[in-house]
Each structure stands twice: as structure tokens, then as C-alpha cells.
């Protein structure tokens, strides 16, 4: 372990000895003010193309398909390269430079009015989602097939590791949190866990197939939280609904103003809402911190070489540290989402009252 860290540090310092003069040179060329907030937000947000590297004038990016539907002109499908990285428009479409839809595609109709078409473009996040989904399916199906072919032999290498990983989530998170009938929910919860975990990890890889801020995007976490919400409430038992609509509290709290039922109903909504915000905020914050620390290098360029060099070293050390923390967070957030989903499912399937009382009474003498 000690050796590993030393190696990492040496590599990082070596990289910076090579690369920092280049950056400094290119930045002194264009001494315009660096808008850090803008840059970070830009990186956190979605994009129509998958940027790989950009150096002031030259861009290297993978163009992605843009799919649009507008009531005025119907369906459109074209490459994002047509926008030339936001510098030009295509047909009636252009990227908004400011306003509410900043960076999004807008349509200008013949009268000059701007409107937002239905945008189903395969953006960077969408492409990353498809890639990670494909990767996840391939990995899990490989494990499943390998195990099916030889069910009585313990897996080796990657398959064995995945099996242990899956079973650790299954045995330590899902089973104790749901209790009875956990078998019904285990596949869903395992899928959710590995979906989030894969996307979190891919988000930490800064080069091409990764790097997208997928699980730090509210649309993604919204779908995940909604899925949990649906599962919890569609498979809830009679007791669960009774506890919501007619809870065990004094009657004046329920009639004539249904205070407690309203609180309970709001409670069922806030639980998945918290899931959605937690995952989104954690991953987004992680990306922001990494970006912010990296920005430290470029912000200090104007303060002279000595400051810049020392801040560069500091920035790299911090970034490496935060990346390790993020690795932990990638697991923890997937774990927390799965754990809480399992707990909510378990709460929606309470033991019948009579049994609870009986259990309490039998426990008393101890």
C-alpha cells in the first residue's frame, strides 16, 4: 500500500512537470478572465457532444445524434457536429447562449420567435447511460451464464468477485431490511444498486467512456426514485395503507381535518424525494469538488509561476485524495439508495398488528 501511494505521487508530479508549462503557455496567450463557476456548471450539465479534449481553438469531441420534434417543423435528426461546438446554428436551430435554456437547442420560427422543441437528443449523459447499461447487462449476464453452466463450482476471478459482491448486498442489505418475502424484491434492488454503482464509477473516469455526470443528474435520480416509490406503494399491504389513511392516533387528529393522513401521505412522497436529492446532490457535489480543485491550477496562473506551481502540486494531491473519497462515495451512495429502498419496502409490508402484540408479549418476560 505504501509503495502504491509513493508510485501515485511520483506519477502525478511527473505528469505535472511535463504538462504545466504547456498550460501556462496557452493561458498566457489568452489572458481573459476565467469564469470558474461557469466552467464547473458547464461540465456538470449535459452536452450535445462528448467532449474529449479542448484547447482554446481546437476541439476534439465525439458528435452525438440530435433528435428533435417541434410542432412547427416535425421530426429532425442530425449530428451535433453541425453546431460546431455551439458556434453556429443549423436550419432553424441554434444553441441558446443565455437565459433559462442556456446551452439547449432552440428553434426560431419564421416570425423570429424562439421556442424550445421537444428534445430527445442522445446527449452525453444519455449516451453514457446507454453505454453503462450495456456494460452492466454484459457483466451480470456473463456472471449468470458462467454460474449457470457450472452451478456447483465456486466462481473464480471476476465472476467470483461479482458473486461475492452481489451476495454481500443481498445478504447484508436486502435480506435484513425487508424481512419476510425479500426474494420478491431482491432482483429489483440488486439491479438498482449495480446500476447506480456502475454509473457512479464511470462518472469518476475522466476519459471517454466515462466522465459524464449521470447519477448527478436529477432526471436520472428522478426515474430511480420513482421506481422505488412505485414498488413501495404498489406492493404495500393493507396494514401499511391503514397506517397512512387511518393511523393509530387520537380521533381529533383525523376528523374533521385529516391532519395525520395528510402528513403521512406527504411522508410517502418525501421518502423517494429524499432518495432522489441525496444521490443527485452527492454525486454532483463530488464532481464539483474535483472540478473546483482542478480549476485551482488555472485560477492561479496569473499569480506567477511560483504560486502556480505550488498550487498545482497541491491541487493534484487534493484531487487524488478527493477521487479516493469519491470512489468510496460511489459505493456508499449506491449502498444507501439500495438500503433505504429496502427499508421503505420493508416498512410498506408491516407485520399484522395481532402478531406484533403477540411478539411483544412473548418478549416481555425476558
Amino acid at each position: 500500500m505504501h509503495k502504491f501511494f509513493t508510485y501515485c505521487l511520483l506519477t502525478v508530479i511527473g505528469l505535472f512537470i511535463i504538462s504545466s508549462p504547456g498550460y501556462a503557455a496557452s493561458d498566457t496567450h489568452a489572458p481573459e478572465e476565467l469564469n470558474v463557476k461557469e466552467l464547473i456548471l458547464e461540465h456538470l450539465a449535459d452536452d450535445y457532444e462528448w467532449q474529449i479534449v479542448s484547447n482554446g481553438e481546437r476541439h476534439l469531441a465525439i458528435p452525438l445524434p440530435v433528435i428533435l420534434y417541434s410542432e412547427a417543423s416535425g421530426w429532425h435528426l442530425f449530428s451535433s457536429a453541425r453546431f460546431q461546438h455551439g458556434k453556429s446554428g443549423y436550419k432553424n436551430f441554434h444553441l441558446a447562449s443565455e437565459g433559462r435554456y442556456k446551452g439547449k437547442i432552440m428553434e426560431t420560427d419564421p416570425t423570429g420567435k424562439e421556442s424550445r422543441p421537444l428534445d430527445l437528443s442522445l446527449t452525453k449523459n444519455a449516451a453514457s447511460l446507454l453505454f453503462s447499461s450495456l456494460l452492466l447487462i454484459v457483466i451480470v449476464m456473463t456472471v449468470a451464464r458462467t454460474m449457470k453452466r457450472n452451478p456447483l463450482k465456486a466462481g473464480k476471478g471476476f465472476v467470483g468477485m461479482m458473486e461475492m459482491f452481489i451476495m454481500s448486498i443481498h445478504d447484508d442489505v436486502i435480506k435484513p431490511s425487508i424481512g419476510k418475502d425479500y426474494e420478491r424484491y431482491a432482483p429489483y434492488l440488486l439491479t438498482v444498486f449495480f446500476f447506480i454503482f456502475t454509473n457512479n464509477l464511470l462518472g469518476l473516469i475522466p476519459i471517454f467512456p466515462g466522465g459524464a455526470n449521470v447519477t448527478g443528474n436529477i432526471a436520472v435520480t428522478l426515474v430511480l426514485a420513482t421506481a422505488t416509490f412505485l414498488i413501495v406503494n404498489l406492493t404495500g399491504t393493507k396494514e401499511y395503507y391503514k397506517d397512512i389513511l387511518w393511523p393509530d392516533v387520537p380521533v381529533w387528529l383525523k376528523v374533521p381535518i385529516p391532519l395525520m393522513p395528510v402528513i403521512e401521505i406527504v411522508g410517502t412522497l418525501t421518502k423517494p424525494f429524499a432518495l432522489m436529492i441525496r444521490l443527485f446532490a452527492n454525486i454532483m457535489a463530488g464532481h464539483s469538488i474535483v472540478l473546483g480543485l482542478t480549476m485551482l491550477i488555472f485560477v492561479t496562473v496569473s499569480m506567477g509561476t511560483a504560486v502556480n506551481a505550488s498550487m498545482t502540486v497541491l491541487s493534484v494531491i487534493f484531487t487524488v485524495f478527493i477521487d479516493f473519497v469519491e470512489l468510496l462515495i460511489a459505493y456508499i451512495q449506491a449502498y444507501v439508495f439500495t438500503l433505504l429502498s429496502a427499508v421503505f419496502i420493508g416498512q410498506a409490508r408491516p407485520e399484522p398488528r395481532v402478531k406484533q402484540k403477540a411478539a411483544l408479549e412473548t418478549n416481555k418476560p425476558d
Binding site: 430527445l120 446527449t123 444519455a126 456447483l152 432482483p187 439491479t191 446500476f195 436529477i218
Partner: protein
């Protein structure tokens, strides 16, 4: 603020990709993995159980075989003992029989000898009688050639008879 508003486009792609992942993994992925793990778990449990059972069975088999061996040894000993006893008895009996037979034969031989002896004695006596008669005849013919001698004899004989009568 745009970070907090879900994009419909991404929502659409997320629904598609997450839906596909859910469908595939919930149907063909995780249930199979969980089932296989469960299968292996029960298999290991059963194997352990049967191994323990086999172990126990082996122990009992060993015990019974030892018992059997011990019993066989015992039986062998008793059989040997019985056999030697029987042999002794048979020898004893044979000896007795032989002795009896011998005694009988000796007895018979003795009897035969006895009878033979008597026969021989009888024949000897007859011979002797005949010999004596012949001798007597010859002696008498010699002695009683004269008249006086014949008379003297008659007288003596008569005396003897008289003596025997009285």
C-alpha cells in the same frame, strides 16, 4: 437552476435504458445468480450432511466388523475346544472298544483252548484206556496162560468185588 429541472430528453433515455436494464437483469440476471448460489448452498449442506452420515456409518460398520471378528475368534476357540474334546472322546471310545474286542477274543481263545484241552485229554484218556486194555490183554495173555494163574485171578477179583460190596 437548470441543474434541478429534469430534462425531458434525458428522462426519456433514462426510462429506456433503466427499463431495459431492469427487465433484463430482473428476468435473466439476478434471479439466476441467486438461484445458483442457493443451489450451491443446499448442495454443500447436503454434502456435509451425507459426509457426516457416511462417517457415522463407517464407524458403525467398523464397530460391527470388529464385533464380528471378535465373535468369530470366540467361535473358533469354542469349535477348537469342542473338536479336541470330541477327539479325546472318540479316542477313548475307540480304545475301550478295542480293549473289549481284545478281551472277547482272548476269552474265546481261552475257551477254545479249554475245549481243545479237554478234547485232547479225552482222546488221551481213550488212547490210554485202549493202550492199557491192549497192554492188559497182552499181559493177561501172558500171565493167564496157566490154569492156576487164571483161577488165582478170578479169586482175587472176586475178593475185590466183595470188598467193594461190603
Amino acid at each position: 437552476m437548470s441543474l434541478l429541472t429534469p430534462e425531458p430528453g434525458l428522462l426519456f433515455w433514462m426510462l429506456i435504458s433503466f427499463g431495459t436494464v431492469l427487465f433484463v437483469l430482473m428476468k435473466y440476471g439476478f434471479p439466476i445468480i441467486l438461484k445458483m448460489v442457493e443451489k450451491r448452498r443446499t448442495y454443500i449442506e447436503e454434502s456435509l450432511l451425507s459426509a457426516r452420515k457416511a462417517h457415522e456409518e463407517l464407524a458403525t460398520v467398523k464397530q460391527t466388523s470388529e464385533e464380528l471378528l471378535a465373535r468369530t475368534h470366540q467361535e473358533q476357540a469354542t469349535i477348537l475346544k469342542e473338536t479336541s474334546l470330541l477327539r479325546d472322546q472318540m479316542m477313548e471310545k475307540a480304545r475301550n472298544d478295542a480293549r473289549k474286542e481284545a478281551d472277547k477274543m482272548i476269552e474265546e481263545a481261552r475257551k477254545q483252548i479249554e475245549t481243545e484241552k479237554e478234547k485232547a485229554l479225552l482222546s488221551i484218556r481213550e488212547e490210554a484206556a485202549i493202550l492199557s486194555l491192549n497192554l492188559t490183554e497182552k499181559i493177561l495173555r501172558e500171565k493167564l496162560g496157566t490154569k492156576e494163574a487164571q483161577l488165582a485171578l478170578i479169586d482175587r477179583l472176586l475178593d475185590e468185588i466183595d470188598l467193594a460190596k461190603s
